[in-house]
């Protein structure tokens, strides 16, 4: 099972601990903090597995069967209406996530706890038809080994056709998930709509798996599976694996603790896929990140010792070494300064990003508005109002979804650019302190790794501001046409025939104006809410990047300062003192080299597979 940390993660944990002991010994608490965080992050990546598909295909049953819980409401009659997020928790519990983040403190809370027996009343059609209770999601916590690794399963309302509101929201959520589990059943082969959703999922999410459910009910399920594979191949989606499962067998297997039945249910294969392809891959990134952190810390520690040794070995070179270190120190200070290149890239980039996203949204909403006005000019608003509002909601939902996708992509690009520029700045610093084979004050930033990491951070930021999943049904309602009553007969009686006609015309014009105004107000509302969300997300990304790199610069600065101090002390020492100190330093460096060797070994162990993935 995935749950037990794989050897790779365990080794990384040990490595981080070893490095942490070293920072304690040398009194570098700043570096120690970095390692403490690395330790915490390791083995608990934040992973979202989005379970999507047409409705009544068995998505909730699948989530329950994977986790061996009865948490997601399952019913023959009613469907899931809001996304249900299942994550790890030491005690079972459930919470409701409110629609909008509260604007004022005295408004409704952002989330509140509910009893486990209340879940159906919030998550399914029963009690919450069409999400009339207006919530964003239900979050369930259960103690499960599979989830301990940081995986969260997100059960979604069924996609009722690509153009529906739920469809658009699912599209948007695709980009925020690490893995998409697409659910279809053995009652029929994949339909055109399903293939379209799958295609969108593959375009937006790194890992997609197609699960064929209900194989216990349909004798021809093997043929359906073959047909589905053919459809996938024809749609150039052959990299999407198709796994056939029976939830009924899985339930029986778990109730009877029968390994045989479990194998027959097909679930072990799905769990294996989740463990290896999803959790495993995320863990590899986590391990590489940890190794990168450890290497950085080792570099810092060694830098101090090597500078000191340099001076001890050849007291005559003390001055040039001290000069070099002095220069390095001032460079490190520059790296921290606002004027540093990466800082500018970050500052300007964030501003550009915000205005780009804003502009994108405006442009898209303007198009929607134009189309809406055209429709209103062609018809009497009264006649088309119901269909019109439904259409508008769908349009707005897919607009917002597209906009969020642009944001996600651009935020990733920004993170990568900042990491690159920091690396260039750092490179300059390294050359500055290259003294013969002397000290190297460097973190050797792995830009590729940083890109992945920062990408994840942008993802986390967006998830944070969207409350885990994008606004399923967040779109409010258009204001009704209460003001737009048809011409009343009372007025009609008092007017002559011609005047009546004029009056009717005037009223129609007025209705159109009112309808257009209602549309504009609605779009303004949407624009305001979405803008706030994306600005929050951008700020989050910006802060995260700034904190990370500032801290790194501070640590570099402190290392150069300590190296300088050590070198100065060394320069004042007597020959005897110098001799014993040299031995001591050699021993320390040997110790650090041992840790470094372990780090390199670990990196080599995860590199080839990471490259393959």
């Amino acid at each position: 099972m995935a749950a037990a940390s794989p050897p790779l993660v365990n080794r990384a944990l040990q490595l981080v601990q070893a490095a942490h002991r070293a920072t304690d010994a040398y009194d570098r608490t700043d570096l120690g903090e970095r390692l403490a965080r690395a330790h915490e992050r390791l083995g608990r990546p934040d992973l979202h597995a989005l379970v999507i598909g047409e409705f009544k295909k068995g998505k909730s049953t699948l989530v329950n069967a994977v986790l061996n819980v009865q948490m997601c409401p399952v019913s023959d009659e009613v469907a899931t209406v809001v996304p249900t997020i299942v994550r790890h928790g030491d005690e079972p519990g459930a919470e409701v996530v409110a629609q909008d983040p509260p604007r004022a403190a005295d408004e409704h809370p952002a989330r509140w706890a509910i009893g486990l027996d209340e879940i159906p009343a919030w998550a399914s059609e029963r009690g919450n038809a069409d999400n009339s209770r207006g919530i964003r999601a239900v979050e369930i916590r259960v103690p499960r080994q599979l989830l301990r690794s940081g995986l969260a399963l997100v059960d979604t309302p069924g996609v009722g056709g690509l153009q529906s509101v739920h469809g658009a929201a699912t599209m948007a959520a695709l980009g925020l998930a690490e893995v998409v589990i697409f659910v279809t059943d053995a009652s029929q082969e994949l339909s055109g709509v399903e293939l379209e959703v799958l295609r969108a999922a593959v375009a937006r999410c790194p890992t997609v798996v197609c699960v064929l459910t209900k194989i216990d009910l349909y004798p021809a399920w093997r043929r359906i599976a073959d047909l589905d594979r053919t459809h996938l191949a024809k749609a150039a989606l052959s990299e999407v694996p198709l796994l056939a499962v029976s939830s009924i067998l899985r339930q029986q297997a778990l109730a009877a603790s029968s390994k045989e039945l479990n194998e027959e249910s097909g679930y072990p294969e799905l769990l294996k896929f989740l463990n290896e392809s999803v959790v495993g891959r995320a863990q590899q990134v986590a391990v590489r990140t940890a190794v990168s952190d450890v290497t950085f810390v080792l570099d810092q520690l060694e830098a101090t010792f090597t500078a000191e040794r340099e001076v001890l070995v050849d007291p005559g070179r003390a001055q040039p070494v001290l000069d070099e270190l002095e220069r390095a120190k001032s460079r490190a200070e520059q790296l921290r300064a606002r004027s540093a290149r990466w800082q500018q890239t970050l500052g300007d980039g964030s501003q550009d990003l915000a205005s780009e996203i804003d502009h994108d949204l405006r442009r898209r909403l303007r198009d929607v508005n134009l189309a809406a006005e055209e429709a209103l000019d062609r018809h009497d608003p009264i006649d088309i109002w119901d269909d019109f509002s439904a259409w508008l909601r769908k349009e707005v939902a897919s607009t917002v979804a597209d906009n969020a996708e642009v944001l996600r992509y651009s935020a990733n690009m920004l993170a990568a650019r900042v990491a690159e520029h920091f690396a260039i700045d750092e490179e300059a610093l390294i050359h500055a302190v290259d003294i013969g084979d002397g000290p190297r004050v460097s973190g050797d930033l792995d830009v590729e790794l940083e890109r992945t990491r920062r990408g994840n951070s942008a993802l986390a930021a967006m998830r944070g501001s969207y409350g885990g999943v994008l606004m399923f049904g967040m779109m409010g309602q258009l204001i009704g046409l209460s003001l737009m009553n048809p011409l009343t007969a009372v007025i009609g009686i008092g007017l002559g025939r011609k005047a009546l006609k004029e009056e009717k015309k005037r009223q129609l014009t007025m209705r159109r104006q009112q309808a257009k105004m209602a549309v504009r107000r609605y779009l303004d509302e949407v624009s305001f809410a979405v803008n706030k969300d994306s600005r929050d997300a951008i700020r989050h990304v910006q802060r995260d990047l700034r904190d990370e790199f500032t801290e790194r610069a501070e640590q570099l600065q402190r290392s150069t300062r300590e190296a300088l101090a050590a070198a100065e002390t060394a320069a004042r020492q007597t020959v005897e003192e110098a001799g014993s100190r040299r031995k001591q330093i050699e021993a320390e460096l040997a110790n650090l080299a041992k840790v470094r060797a372990v780090a390199q070994e670990l990196l080599a162990a995860c590199q080839p597979r990471a490259a393959a993935a």
């Binding site: 082969e189 709509v193 216990d216 009910l217 043929r223 459809h231 067998l249 048809p486 007969a489």
Partner: protein, 493 residues
Amino acid sequence: MSQLLDQVRALVAEARAALGDGASGAALDQIAARLDEPLRVAFAGRVKAGKSTLLNALVGEELAPTDAGECTRIVTWYQNGHTYRVTMRLRDGTEQQARFSRADGALTVDLDGHTPDGIDRLEVLWPSKRLAGVTLIDTPGLGSATAGASQPAHRFLAIGDDDAHPAEADAVIYLMRHLHQADLGFLEAFHDDALGVASPVNTIAVLSRADEIGACRPEAMQTARRIAIRNRTDPRLRRLCQTVLPVSGLVAQAAMTLTEAEFRALRLLSEMPRADVDELLLTVDRFTGDQLPAPVTPIEREDLLARLGLYGVRTSIRLIRLGAAASATELANQLRDLSGIEDLRQLLATLFTQRREVLKARAALAALESLLRERPGPQTERLSAELERIVASAHELTELQIVSALRSGQIPLQPDEYAEAERLLDEPGLSLAERLDVEPGGERAAILAAVERWRARAEHPLSSRPTVEASRALARTLEGLLVDLDRAAPAAG
């Protein structure tokens, strides 16, 4: 009623004389012929909704080929006839006899080298009592993964910009597995203008494959019934179809054709110990595999499963064990009742047969209207005016339009008024007293009171125009009922 049909017939004949021979003439001949043909009922729905299976169940024979994968690719008409014959109508306008055979009951047609794309439709002539009053039309499913496979259905039901193609069906049975967004979309697309193909008056929605709801458990059909009742009150669906019925085509088809051998096999299975049967019926793989002991060979079991489905097998075994089905006939009757097919058949009989003539007239007028619009000639204006006069003066058509408008909520009425109007116009199979919601004997007084009420409603200054029109029409309908009542009264008394 036939008065309307006669008017339409006369108009078509007049148009035929005015427009003469050529393409228009041929089209008019078709319209004229169609007035005297059986009602055409089309089966529509998304792919794998179970259209062919339901068609077979209604005919009571395994005619249309069915399969686990997508199967129907060509629009196929099943008509009553004196002989067995299959005709291919090709896209290029020609037609050709096709060779056919029956393998395992279902019809296999030799397309003689033609691709499905090149064939407009297949016409199957089949002597069958059940096809006597109605022609059934099978269509390819909508929303197929195979590009192009769905287009014929769209064209056939006159969806999209292909306005030139007049509606070929008089009524539609729309099959859906759940009420899906896409189904609403398709149903909406069927609806056209005033004289369009589908409207709530001639569309029945069927919750198909109802036996598969809820993992084929024994209560599946009851669950399906509850869902159907819920769907009936859904306002989005109300304005698109007459009603929603749950039907299991597979169980119905098996019930119609259940054999003694099948019954014997089922009885043997029902005699197994309860736990063993449950184990065997847990999954389809277990049921058809040879790992578990059973008194029936795996091949026989596979056949049973293909014929009845998991729900059918489970239910049959339960019924036999409970002693509710002691013979093949009894089991077949039980399954037939469970399947919901009888409800559908009854609804078809009352609804479409009752409205048969007006539906026919309506379809013919729609076809004629599009023909006149499409091919204007010297007489067009006069003919159009005449057509408009018929449409305006035919009270039956007005009633149909009001039913549509009522259902789509276009007529503002009080809830009790709404119920009254609906009972009067839109409840097939009710007696006069039931339509008026009075005790038998009180019809006359009730009609007189209702006429007054609706007249007052029509004249009320605050009534909106649609309400005025509907109220007038209802008053007229009631007056017609009064005339019928008075005419029948002396005979009865």
